[in-house]
């Protein structure tokens, strides 16, 4: 497949090409999604070199195990970001990075804390996402922010917010459901998986 064709290729075609050891296809996947993956990893781990390690590992996983990606269950972007998030969370929960994380949290708290709107401000679909975020109750939004961008477990979120664990579980789930419905309504995501 020519490089020009790769630029237009669907996620599924890209991954098929990666499965055939096309470095050009992997480069195209990186061009499309490397920035988002790196941004998310850096936001979570708070360290550029660690973020680079995470992203490198995620793309190597895609290279070595392309069939782990299931196009029927979502986009390549969401797959790569889920991998990035999981690996980042593993890192920040590890004992070795606990101190670094505490320092980072102290610094973040001293600044402006979590700000979902700021996270999406540069996205092409930022307006729709901001509108979708506005449909969330404050408690839902706060719980999702702390879990997703803070890398905290729901138990940790519950402790931080002084709420019962069950309440936080419910808020995360209902918030994601509400957010998805709003994004489907605005056409940002499809109604399927």
């Amino acid at each position: 497949m020519r490089i020009e064709d790769l630029r237009e290729a669907s996620d599924a075609k890209l991954v098929v090409a990666i499965g055939r050891y096309s470095q050009e296809a992997l480069a195209e996947a990186y061009r499309r999604h490397g920035g988002a993956a790196f941004g998310l990893a850096q936001r979570l781990v708070g360290d550029r070199s660690m973020a680079e390690e995470v992203v490198q590992e995620v793309f190597l996983r895609l290279w070595n195990d392309p069939d782990k990606f299931d196009p029927d269950r979502g986009t390549l972007r969401s797959y790569l970001l889920a991998q990035t998030h999981g690996r980042s969370v593993d890192l920040i929960r590890s004992e070795s990075s606990r101190r670094r994380r505490e320092e980072r949290e102290a610094r973040l708290n001293a600044e402006s804390g979590y700000d979902l709107e700021r996270e999406v401000i540069d996205m092409a679909v930022g307006d729709q996402i901001r509108s979708a975020l506005a449909t969330l109750a404050d408690g839902e939004r706060e719980a999702i922010e702390l879990a997703y961008f803070g890398g905290h477990t729901y138990r940790e979120v519950a402790a931080m917010l002084g709420q019962p664990e069950g309440t936080i579980k419910s808020r995360i789930r209902s918030g994601l459901t509400r957010l998805r419905a709003a994004l489907v309504e605005t056409g940002v995501v499809g109604s399927g998986a």
Binding site: Y21, E52, P66, P71, I144, Y148, K169, L176, V189
Partner: protein, 290 residues
Amino acid sequence: MARERTPAELEELLGAFALDAVDAEEAEQIERYLETHPEARDEVAQYRETASMLAFAGADAPSGLWHSIVASLEEEPPRLVLPVADPTGDLPPLRMPGIPVRPDVVGPEVAPEEDRPSAAPVVPIDAMRSRRSVGMRVMTGLAAAALVVVALLGVQVDRQGRQVDELTSALDRSAIESAAALAARTPGVRTAEMTSQIGGRTARILLLPDGSGFVTESNLERLPAGRTYQLWALVGDEDDPTAISAGVLGNSPSTVPFRFSGSAFGFAITDEARPGVVSSSQAPVVVGTF
């Protein structure tokens, strides 16, 4: 011992699970639950898709990071430099049987690394496909993209991966044959007729000025499963050749694309027990020069 959670409790955790916000023991139970509950799997996939929309798009990822990724990929282009004497003198010079080599090459006469042609990328082809088959789920996804072509061909494609895979292979083969035919008519194309010393095996090399090429018109016999043909570009002095891998051809090559950007005076094909060997001790099946 961890408490086994009820289905209702696990369902309540799906949102937190999608955000990696459960502990390891809970994650294990949820993963087991998802194996037998496709609706729950879909729900998690939808939450992850939603969460991914929140991720900061960021600037372009650092280009240096891409170089690190490339450097650590599993499939390095195989490279064979012949004949090269071991500088320590402990090992005999490598030889590719059938390719004339000068017997007096010793360490000091070996070209310095920077003077040797760079290795060509391995073209991922049939042998690679059989060794590393992308899952049927991906092929099913591909079916949607191929829908128009499928309609034109009048082929009834359902969601069974095998049929999709066959169709994809057919489309690939057709496109490769067309590209090779076009290459043969392209001004500046170089042609090498490859022949065997015994057995009447032949193949043709087409090499374009931009380094893209094709092995075509091959009558190489089908190899047993697990074996593969490998293509080597012959560069340097014809009496003292250096062989550089130009790709793995699979066990039954017909027309196969490859890329070699160095200055080759000919090509050889060997029969290998595994794909992408770095060095070969096999006699070439066929050899040809321009």
